[in-house]
Structures are given as C-alpha cells and as structure tokens.
C-alpha cells in the first residue's frame, strides 16, 4: 500500500522528470456531489484523531470545521465546508478514487480485490491510474477481455466482452446491460452445443456489456466464470483451500463412491491421464493446483490460467467414474491386420477427436486420416457386419456361443 504523503512527494518528483512529455495525461475530474456527500458522511462523528485518508492528503473534523493535511504543504485547520468542497474538487481524482472503492465497490473481498487488480490500484498512483483509465485499461480473464475506463466524474465503467471481439464496435455486437444475462451467453458454444464446464475455452463471442459499473462488472465476470474470482482472491491471500485427488475421491458417495477404488496404491499414472484428458489448457482455463495428494504431484502441467482450480470438478469426477469401470477391465490381445497407413489413420482419428478437430477436416481432404470418406472406407474394409474391427469379436466367447 502506498503511503499517502510519500505518494504526494513522488508525484511532485514525477512531474519534474523528463518523462512527463510521454506520460499519459491525467483526465480532468469534476467532484460529483455524491462523492463529496460521502466524505462528509464519513467524517460525521469520526474521531478527529483518526483522519480520513486519501492518496496524498487526509481530512479530519475538528471543533470549528475541518482539518486538511497537507494543504499547500501545511496542515490547515478551521476549513469550512465550502472551502473543503473547493479543496476536494481540486483533489477530485484522489477523492473519487476513495469513493469508488470505499463506497461503490465496498468491502467484499473478492470483488474489491478484483476491481483493484484491474487497474493496479495497490501498485500505481491515482494519477497514473486515472491517466491509464482515460485511455482504457485492458485485462484478460479466461476468454474475457475487460476494459476499465473512468468518466469525468471519476466513476469507473467497464466493457466486458469475448477477447476475440476486441476492437469490434459495440453496435456490431449484441449489447447487454444486466450481468445476469451472461447466464444465457455461456450456456452454448458457438456451434450451439451445451457447455457443461463454464471454464472450458469454448465461450462464444458476438456480445458485449459495454458500460457496466464496478459491481455489475464483477457480477458479469463471476457469471461467466463462477467462483473464479473468489478462488483467485483466496490464492492471492495465501488461503486457497486445495483438495487433492485422493481426498476428493475419498469424499465421494453414491454412484461416485466407486472412484476411490481406482487408486490402488500403484502410483498415479491414471490420474495423470485424467488431468491430461480434462484439465489441459486446451480443455479448461483454470490452472490446476490440485495434485494426487499433498505429497505427490502429478506428472502433468497444471496450465497457465489466471484463476486456480482447487479440486477435481464434477465433470472430472463423473468422467472418473466411467474410467474406474472401464479401467477395471484386463487387457487382451487381439489379432488383426492393418496396413501401416491404416494404423496411422487410426491414430489420426483418435487425435482428431481428442483435439476437437473433426469439424475442421474438409470433406474432400482425403490427405487427412480422420477425413470422413477415408474413415468410411476404413470401416467398409475393416469392419465385419457386426461392426467388429478386423472381423475380430470383442468377446472371444461370442464366436464360441454362435458356433
């Protein structure tokens, strides 16, 4: 946290620097009456020895009026309300900054931390931030692009949209103003398929919340990516409660209780595969912080997301239930013939499905192993009438029974 007085000095110092020509201009701010009233309200009944601190100065109440410290370098007492208004109007950026965070944004930890982070309020001075806000401060959050600006009354406004829509004029996008409308925007991907995982990198674009206030901006982000801000905040505070794979699966009951039996004390390769399948950045934008247990890391990268993943999610648990059953099967040796190209084609098909590339493979592009004609040819050639690859039944007994 910057010290108010040293900041004032720093500002003066900065003003004398050679950089001033290139530094962005601090916008002119008019002190709105609600901000001034909020200051009076905060001073009302406040201990005179506990001044209200703004960046670069403080205000307290005393018997005859107000105390401004410093004013023109000195502590000024007996300031009337009218004089105080004048003084605060001259210091409108600092006052509106206080008002924005102390009164509009409020105390709630995740919201406050997020909105302060957006404009680096815990690192940069008011002057620096207001100058940057005048230009628009952009931040990424998952696939969102959030642009923070400031009005000439010192109010923060936020534009929230898909990062792919950066630079698109607002009137070319579908405009929304109620952050809860984001619930519908996140429901389906751009092909109209349901998104069961909100942090999957499949957010559709084409919409914009062009003019949100601070609370609504936070709500919009939390609606698109629920609880991500809360978890990011806990992590910043050093309080992220990570629940690793083992404890998460131990906790499961009902139809998911079976998953704990998949851990057989023979290592965690199976969980590595789960994480590679589900938690890779290509599948989920959360940064996986959970491991096999608190002593054993997985051998898979957790990703680079801005917000953490603190435990295996319900999609992972559901998939793990399926794998627990499938992985209880013992391998068998099947014998059938494939040409080298056919073996590679099977690999191509698996890759195309796993990487979600099916729709990108052009209809007549027979160079692609996962091309539909190529795949249909392979099926026509290598499947028998029962759909068995290479004509080999899945269950050896099937043949016996039929004979």
């Amino acid at each position: 946290m910057p010290e108010p007085t040293s900041d004032a000095t720093a500002d003066e110092g900065a003003a004398a620097d050679d950089d001033t020509e290139t530094a962005p201009e601090v916008p002119s701010i008019d002190l709105p009456s609600d901000a001034f009233d909020a200051v009076l309200d905060a001073l009302d009944g406040r201990d005179p020895n506990d001044p209200l601190r703004f960046e670069g100065f403080s205000v307290a109440r005393d018997d005859g009026g107000y105390v401004l410290d410093p004013a023109d370098g000195d502590r000024q007492t007996g300031v009337s309300e009218r004089e105080l208004h004048e003084a605060l109007d001259e210091r409108a950026p600092a006052v509106t900054d206080w008002y924005a965070f102390e009164r509009v944004v409020g105390e709630f930890g995740p919201r406050r931390a997020f909105l302060r982070w957006l404009e680096d309020a815990d690192g940069a001075t008011v002057a620096t931030r207001y100058a940057a806000l005048a230009e628009g401060i952009e931040r990424a959050w998952g696939e969102l692009k959030i642009t923070a600006t400031v009005t000439d009354r010192g109010e923060r406004r936020y534009d929230v949209r898909h990062a792919d829509d950066a630079g698109v004029p607002v009137d070319e996008l579908d405009r929304y103003d109620d952050p809860l409308d984001a619930r519908e925007l996140v429901k389906l991907d751009e092909k109209g398929r349901y998104r069961p995982l909100k942090t999957a990198p499949t957010l559709a674009g084409g919409w914009v919340f062009p003019d949100l206030g601070p609370r609504d901006a936070y709500e919009a982000v939390e609606t698109v990516y629920p609880a991500t801000v809360a978890n990011w905040h806990r992590e910043r505070e050093g309080e992220l409660d990570v629940s690793h794979w083992r404890e998460t699966m131990e906790r499961q009951s009902g139809i998911y209780g079976v998953v704990k039996t998949w851990d057989r004390g023979e290592g965690h390769e199976h969980v590595d595969w789960v994480a590679e399948a589900c938690c890779d950045d290509s599948q989920c934008l959360k940064r996986r912080e959970w491991e096999y247990d608190d002593e054993t890391d997985l051998n898979v990268d957790g990703g680079d997301g801005a917000f953490p993943c603190r435990e295996p999610c319900s999609v992972v648990v559901s998939a793990a239930r399926k794998w627990t059953r499938l992985e209880s099967e013992r391998p068998r040796t099947y014998e059938f013939d494939l040409t080298p190209s056919e073996k590679e084609q099977v690999e191509d098909i698996i890759d195309a499905v796993a990487d979600g590339r099916i729709d990108e493979i052009r209809e007549a592009d027979t160079k692609e192993g996962a091309n539909r004609y190529r795949t249909r040819f392979l099926r026509a050639k290598r499947f028998d009438d029962e759909g068995n690859l290479g004509g080999v039944p899945t269950e050896p007994a099937e043949t016996g029974d039929e004979e």
Partner: protein
C-alpha cells in the same frame, strides 16, 4: 445483509436443467427481499463446494431446490457445503418435516441456515394446484377433472413417495378436483396405467420434479402413452384409452415455486417483508381467456 442461496442439481447434459433455478432466483431477486440471491449446483457452476465463498451477506439462507428429503439433502449438500457438525437428526424429520438447521459452514467459517427441501413444504401443494391451472389455462380448474401427482416410488428414495402422498392427500382434502391420486414411476399404482385409476374424462398429470429432463420429457410421456417416442412430441391434452390427459411437465418450472423457496427461508427466520404476497400475485394464472 441477508442472502439467499438456492442449491439445485443441474446437469452435465441438459442445458435446460438450471433454467427453473435461475427463473425462481430472478423472481425472488425482483422482490428485493434479499440483498443477494445466489445459485449453486451439484453438476454446474458454481458448485455446492464453492457457492458459499461467492456470498457476501452475513445472514445466509440455503434452500435446496429438491423434491424430497434424502440422499442429496441429507448427505451430499451438507457435506459439500461443509456444514460443521451436520447430522440428519438436526432436522428431526419424519421424512417430510425438515425445516432448518443453523450450522457453521467451514468453507466460509460463518453460520448458514440450512433449510429443508422445497418439495416437502406445505406451500408446495399450492404449486401443484397452480401447475394444474397453468396447463389447463383455467384458474378454477377442478370440477370434472382428476389430478394425478407422480414421482419416483420408494425404490429410489422412500421419502420421495411420502412427499407425493402428502401433497396428493392435501389436495384431495380440498375437494377441488373430482379425484386425486398419487402415482409412481417404479411401483404400483404405476403412472403407466393412469386411465385405470381415474373415472374422470379429464386428468391433469403433474410430475413432482424440479426440472424438465429425461424423466419428465421422455420417460413419463412414453410410459403414459402420450406418444410412442418422445421426439414426436405430444399434445396437451392427449387422449389415452378414453382419458384426456393434461400433461403438466415438471412442477418445478411453475413460477409459484419461488413462493416455496421464500417460505423455506421465512421458516428459517428470514425477514421477507411483502415478498410472499408479491410473488403469489405476480405468478398468478390469468383469469379467463
């Protein structure tokens, strides 16, 4: 600051599963009775595990949008919300009478009021009747009509059948419909044989489910014979073996459900002002046609 948290099942597969939860949250939000209304899910996000950390208020009411007491309300939700010291005896319930328990949620180290499910609240009876009004478009429906309340039987959860019977009995006592029956999906009397259980020419069929999904959109319509295959759709009403069946779909989609959620919170001590009256008024079925 007073907060409402509605917790529901949600779905990995069905995009419409969360819709009733969101709709009722919006209805309640519009009353202004709570400073914030949040939703949390078992299969969607925010998950039960993380919803409380998104809550700002200090008086927190958690209402499960589930039809009966059982596995979810007694085990899954308290465990996932990390309600310290939870034991089902906190509710001292006979399977229908769970009201609320006040416990510290370890996730936020703060007390929450954990309420009984909406489905067993006495106000749910009114929602079933309202659903019959909605599907027939008649706010006075009753005379000449039978009403079937349908749900899972005891195979899935013995309390499920209790809730169905409870509401069917209460509606029958009102002498509004000519006949009222509780029917089940997996035991007798089975919903498949609906016409056998009613003498009335017209029967409203109300499934006690929260959201429309596999059971209400595929299973029941096919079992009852409203259609051969659910993909064909069906008319309301559809005549089956001489009985006109007015199939209502999941009762949980009825706007008046918001009232039951509020009732649960009020029973747990929430200060609602005029919200209950507001919701009953704004969700009414229009009179006449």
């Amino acid at each position: 600051m007073q907060s409402l948290v509605i917790v529901a099942h949600g779905s990995h597969l069905n995009p419409g599963s969360s819709a009733p939860t969101y709709d009722h949250a919006d209805t309640i939000r519009a009353t202004g009775a709570f400073d914030e209304v949040k939703t949390g899910f078992w299969k969607e996000e925010p998950h039960f595990r993380e919803v409380l950390r998104t809550v700002e208020g200090d008086e927190i009411y958690v209402v499960p949008l589930f039809v009966s007491e059982g596995y979810f309300t007694e085990q899954v939700i308290p465990r996932e919300l990390r309600l310290d010291g939870w034991d089902v005896s906190e509710w001292d319930s006979d399977g229908l009478s769970a009201d609320q328990a006040t416990l510290v949620a370890e996730d936020i180290d703060h007390e929450v009021h954990y309420c009984g499910p909406v489905g067993t609240h006495r106000a749910m009876t009114d929602v079933i009747v309202r659903r019959a009004e909605s599907v027939t478009g008649d706010p006075d429906v009753g005379e000449g009509f039978g009403l079937a309340v349908v749900g899972h039987g005891t195979e899935r959860n013995e309390n499920s059948a209790k809730a169905i019977e409870y509401h069917a009995d209460r509606i029958a006592e009102r002498d509004r419909f000519d006949e009222v029956k509780a029917l089940y999906m997996d035991e007798d009397p089975e919903v498949d044989d609906l016409p056998d259980y009613f003498e009335s020419d017209d029967v409203v069929l109300v499934p006690l489910f929260i959201a429309d999904g596999y059971h209400t959109q595929e299973d029941i319509p096919e079992d009852v014979g409203l259609c051969e295959d659910h993909t064909e759709g069906y008319d309301v009403p559809t005549e089956v073996d001489g009985t006109r069946i007015w199939y209502a779909g999941a009762v949980g989609t009825e706007p008046l459900m918001a009232d039951v959620i509020l009732e649960r919170a009020a029973d747990a001590g929430a200060d609602l002002g005029t919200a209950l009256d507001d919701v009953r008024e704004t969700t009414r079925v229009a009179t006449g046609d």
